[in-house]
Assembly symmetry: C2
Homo-oligomer: 197 residues x 2
Amino acid sequence: MDIRERLLGAAAQVYAEAGYRGATTRRIAQQAGVSEITLFRQFGSKEALMLEALTAASRTAVLALPEEPADPVRELTEWSRGRFETLFRIRSLLRKVMSEVEEHPEIINCAKSYPRHPVSFLEQYVRRLQARGWAADDINPKVAAAMLVGAIFTEAMVRDMIPEVYSYGIEDALDGYVRMFLRAVGCEAGSVATRQP
Amino acid sequence: MDIRERLLGAAAQVYAEAGYRGATTRRIAQQAGVSEITLFRQFGSKEALMLEALTAASRTAVLALPEEPADPVRELTEWSRGRFETLFRIRSLLRKVMSEVEEHPEIINCAKSYPRHPVSFLEQYVRRLQARGWAADDINPKVAAAMLVGAIFTEAMVRDMIPEVYSYGIEDALDGYVRMFLRAVGCEAGSVATRQP
DNA sequence: GCAGTGTGTAAGTGGTTACTTGCTTTGCCA
DNA sequence: TGGCAAAGCAAGTAACCACTTACACACTGC
């Protein structure tokens, strides 16, 4: 593999483990299997390396929701699982970024590389449900979307830190969240085509 | 004020701003207005100081929910607001703790000083709603509680970091979350005493 | 007055950090 | 086979880290 890419991957991994201050150039070079001097010759400084590494690491595609809702339970369950898995996979890196944004505001621009936030995908989906009468009109789509996405986000961030609170499995959680979400927006099972009994 | 307490407060504040590695003994002593030597004479080491400071800083009381539900909308709205305000006030410190638990697992014991987790308070409340027929029985109280608390947690952690996503006000958000939560668990306005129209 | 306690300043310990300089080795392509 | 860019090694820079030693000063109770 290319040495530049090895360094970028190593930088993202070490950063996820130890944060900016803990991600020493020595440790990154060791992780990449190259000498520390090569790191500086390639990127000039630790800051330049980290910015490029974080930009690359946070370039994750957001799963889309269907333009034409057909089976909300299935569609939302799959989307929620994808959302959780994405967040859970990069949870260490995300936790570090969140804790260091105040000190290094520039790193949020790396993490914000995606053009649209997941919440807005779900918000549009709720609007489409409302448009065809599958969801109540007195529901604020922004707030509804933020509630489901927020619950999933917390699962991904906190689940492995205080397991005694999250005694149920993640599948049960996602299933429960989606069903509660649909009830909350007024999309009852039976009122639309669904696999629910 | 006592010098020990000044140092504990300064340590918690600097830690919230800069994390463990960034909270240098020099910076803590400067913040407390004492000399660095006094810090070491009082606490022996940086680690001992930080552990004591974090234990003290995370000793926050959890608002209780009433034993006898009477007005779920009002009770849950007040509880949610209290939960949000508590989390929002210590959000910087919480973000640092979350990002450093993997490296310093002992600090989670400080943060876990409260005997019961907020989720379990809400879980018991849902059980009481179910017991008196105000909530559906096919709802898992644990999952339902985790959804509302998770949504509030995300608001407190992320709201000030990506404001363009959270365009609505926090009061609208909490109000929407509570109303959606009650609809999801099957506690409709009108079925119980409530101020909802 | 005086011992004891707690604080301050000055200076310095060894270790680690990001980053540099000078020189040698490796590998690839013509 | 020769040239050359890219890697490595050894050594060192100044700054910063947690932490220590030595000593002076202020306050307290007796």
